[in-house]
């Protein structure tokens, strides 16, 4: 049963209006040999709907063809096939029936360097290919560190495509014989999808075809991340995941020399975990891509604990790690952790509930800030609880209690006073004002209503409350145990900072092993009644977050993350984004409203208005491509 009638109505509407296509699915599955790749356009039914515009367009295209046809035909009448070579330089050769190059086109800036001073028109395609590969080696684009090249042959004649692909693959392999190249050769027939994809990401159609092929096998990856990767990285990814790509043959092996290698990645992970390879029962390592960054995913099992590490494939830096009790196993290494059942009971005792009143959703032994904790989640009829229990002592470290039952309501009238709000909290805690220290009592507007946000601490816990400002009802609350070193009796007051911000910064830098960095935040805060500095800074390759004790200068928390350098920063300016958006909408500068930049997605969102129509255009910060276009006209 759902609490809100609107939710229920939506669910019912969706259930009623979901079409039944099971028969069509079953029929198509029966036709399909499992494991074979299907392009999406083959899967979808061709539809006759909405095709009036196609007819109009076709008539228009036909008219254009009649006008320009003669010129077009004269120029390209001898075109037989096209060859694309991608490393990072992307070059397209158009070849006639006599196997001579009609034109050689640089598809990106790197390719301009390769083709500089090279006159390939009229040259035999094999000779041209050899010359291009030679130039790529000479300019350092192909080497033993990065030895992969994508060869794409596009022709309506499949047999011709296969024949040319084989011949040129041999030509390239011979040219790269000195260090051993790897050629991914594919035959492609261009379609709208490929053209759009190539346009969106500013890549060649050949690379777009390879990415589409990989996505068909690994649908959880993102096209935009793959578009940023080099051909060598895509080749490594495909071979590491052992995927078979359709209409594609790969000769040679992609070079892993630019990376630390599987063995070193495993060594780093084991060393970090303090485990020797003799103690592991199982270890598996795969090269993976996350957000455009190549990383080794190292998984291993030791002493009944499953470990998972992500290691930067180029630098060997540990990007993330986690470990958990393997199902059915027991942690014998420590030997003194409480059982999952004991942890669940500790949470139930704290909540004042019995097992029969709740439904457990999650019980997981996890690592948190270097110590083992149980994450326990459960529901009652009306509430959801999220506990963290110390796996050594069974102590409740934190609880997050969410009260269910959302019902829309408009608030009117006056609000209770801050004193009344505090009294409500004390009543809920069953405590006297002398037993607590209020840190924050703030009237705020959140989630469509006025609320009191209240923070306080007692002798051993820190509490956060949210109250409905109108009737004083408690909307949510949670607490965290105060750290042992900070428990100083009831009503303890926050200690003043004894060290200055400069000292705190140098403590953080020293801990990070750095002499200099760019600071983005230095803030004195009081947490758990203790003065502490929150400090953030970055270097060329890492971002750091520190918490430094304001009294002793001790490092309380530290975090280091690799900076996302691939595709993370904008390469086109705000002005460019604005210009592109205005052009796309066919508007002038007078119609411009505002532009926002989303750093996470590296996208610009440009808003414009003309008359009673609002336009929103999303522009890729890296390529300037129009990612989304929306217009809405007011009634």
């Amino acid at each position: 049963m759902r609490n809100d009638p609107m939710e229920q109505k939506l669910k019912t509407a969706a259930e009623h209006l979901t079409p039944d296509v099971l028969d069509r699915i079953l029929a198509d599955c029966a036709k399909e040999p499992k494991g074979e790749i299907l392009y999406m356009e083959n899967i979808s039914d061709p539809r006759s709907r909405n095709n009036n515009w196609i007819k109009v367009l076709s008539l228009g295209t036909a008219a254009c063809m009649m006008i320009g046809g003669l010129f077009w035909w004269n120029r390209y009448r001898a075109l037989n096939y096209t060859v694309e070579m991608d490393v990072n330089p992307s070059i397209e050769l158009r070849v006639n029936k006599a196997e001579k190059v009609i034109s050689a086109e640089a598809l990106n800036k790197d390719a301009e360097i390769i083709l500089e001073d090279m006159k390939l028109k009229g040259v035999d395609v094999d000779v041209a290919t050899n010359a291009i590969i030679g130039s790529m080696v000479k300019n350092g684009y192909l080497s033993e560190l990065s030895n992969s090249i994508l060869l794409t042959v596009e022709s309506d004649d499949h047999q011709k495509s296969v024949e040319v692909t084989d011949r040129l693959t041999n030509e390239i392999n011979a040219a790269l014989d000195s260090f051993g190249g790897s050629v991914i050769a594919q035959q492609v027939v261009s379609d709208n999808d490929l053209q759009n994809m190539a346009g969106d990401y500013g890549i060649s159609e050949g690379k777009a075809a390879l990415i589409r092929n990989i996505l068909n096998e690994l649908p959880m990856l993102k096209a935009e991340d793959l578009a940023e990767m080099s051909i060598n990285d895509l080749n490594l990814l495909a071979s590491s995941k052992q995927i078979a790509l359709s209409n594609t043959t790969t000769t040679g092996s992609a070079s892993e020399s630019g990376y630390i290698g599987t063995a070193r990645a495993e060594e780093i992970a084991l060393e970090h975990a303090g485990i020797t390879s003799a103690d592991t029962d199982f270890i598996n390592t795969e090269l993976d891509c996350d957000g455009g960054i190549m990383e080794y995913e190292v998984e291993f099992l030791a002493g009944g604990v499953e470990y998972e590490y992500s290691i930067n494939a180029r630098t060997g830096q540990v990007l993330s790690y986690e470990y958990e009790l393997s199902s059915g196993g027991s942690v014998s290494a420590g030997g003194n952790y409480i059982t999952a059942q004991e942890a669940r009971q500790a949470a139930l005792d704290d909540a004042g509930l019995t097992e029969s009143e709740v439904t457990f959703i999650k019980t997981k032994l996890d690592q948190d800030n270097g110590s083992m904790v149980y994450d326990i989640e459960f529901y009652t009829a009306s509430q959801e609880y999220d506990y963290e229990i110390d796996a050594l002592t069974g102590k409740v470290l934190s609880v997050d209690n969410e009260i269910g039952g959302f019902t829309a309501q408009t608030q009117t009238g006056s609000y209770i006073s801050a004193e009344e709000a505090k009294a409500k909290v004390l009543e809920h805690l069953g405590m006297d004002a002398s037993e607590v220290t209020f840190k924050k009592v703030e009237l705020d507007y959140d989630d469509g209503m006025m609320q009191y946000e209240i923070e306080l601490y007692t002798a051993d816990r820190e509490y956060d409350y949210d109250l409905n400002a109108q009737d004083g009802s408690i909307l949510s609350w949670d607490f965290e145990a105060l750290k042992a070193w900070n428990q100083g009796g009831s009503g303890s007051t926050a200690a003043a900072a004894a060290i200055d911000s400069e000292t705190a910064r140098s403590k953080a830098l020293a801990h990070a092993g750095l002499s200099t960095a760019t600071f983005t935040k230095t803030e004195l805060d009081y947490d758990d009644g203790r003065a502490e500095y929150e400090i953030e800074f970055y270097t060329a390759d890492s971002e750091y977050e520190y918490k430094i004790d304001g009294t002793t200068g001790a490092v309380l928390e530290s975090k280091q993350e690799a900076r996302q350098t691939s595709g993370g920063s904008s390469t086109i300016s705000e002005a460019d984004a604005k210009r592109i958006a205005l052009e796309r909408a066919g508007l002038t500068a007078a119609d411009y409203v505002k532009v926002d930049y989303d750093q996470d997605d590296n996208e610009y969102e440009v808003e414009m208005r003309s008359g009673n129509t609002e336009y929103e255009v999303k522009i890729s910060g890296s390529t300037g491509a129009v990612l989304e276009y929306d217009s809405e006209t007011d009634d």
Partner: protein, 191 residues
């Protein structure tokens, strides 16, 4: 009363768990070559898949195509299902990717009345109110609001799962959800 967070009551949570269990078993069976598991898979996730596709594509026919494509892809990919994973989230991620590929193929700008036409004969239980609710959700909500509403109210995903899927914070997922429901209610009243 307006509460900060909404959570699944135990009955709904039980239903969700049961649904996940069925999907999990069906995916394992499908991976083992038992094609009849497809109908269990379909019955237990078709509404969530269609609702998500509709919320992204804003076109009924395209959403129907993606509904079909998702399950054909699942048939091919079932052996890649991670046994420890959450099956519904996995299926919906696949749906989202297919929708994004579809969006790249088409560069539609506005939603026309034809895009949102639901055939009268499709389901005898479907009412005019059902049609109006979905049409209003598509016309009046922002893209992210619409997806959040469909994922929580229709697919039954927890706010935390939605936040993960959409790469936004938990408070953002919760507040956008509440805002979207209020907006939807307002527009329906006006209609």
């Amino acid at each position: 009363m307006l509460f900060l967070f909404s959570s699944l009551p135990s009955e709904a949570a039980d239903a969700r768990q049961l649904q996940e269990q069925r999907l999990h078993e069906a995916l394992l069976r499908l991976a083992a070559g038992e094609t009849d598991a497809m109908s269990v898979l379909y019955e237990n996730s078709k509404t969530a898949v269609f609702a998500l596709a509709l919320s992204i594509l804003k076109n009924r026919q395209d959403a129907e195509d993606i509904l079909h494509d998702t399950f054909v892809q699942l048939y091919r990919m079932a052996d890649r299902y991670d046994r420890g994973g959450r099956p519904l989230s996995w299926i919906l991620t696949m749906t989202r990717n297919l929708c994004l590929m579809q969006l790249r193929r088409k560069s539609r700008t506005e939603v026309s009345a034809e895009d949102l036409e639901f055939p009268e004969t499709e389901n005898p239980f479907a009412t005019a109110e059902d049609r109006m609710i979905l049409q209003t959700a598509i016309r009046c909500l922002e893209d992210d609001e619409r997806q959040i509403v469909m994922l929580h109210a229709v697919a039954g995903l927890k706010h935390r799962e939605i936040a993960e899927q959409m790469h936004i914070s938990l408070p953002a997922a919760v507040s956008r959800y509440h805002r979207a429901l209020q907006k939807l209610q307002k527009h329906l009243k006006e209609a």
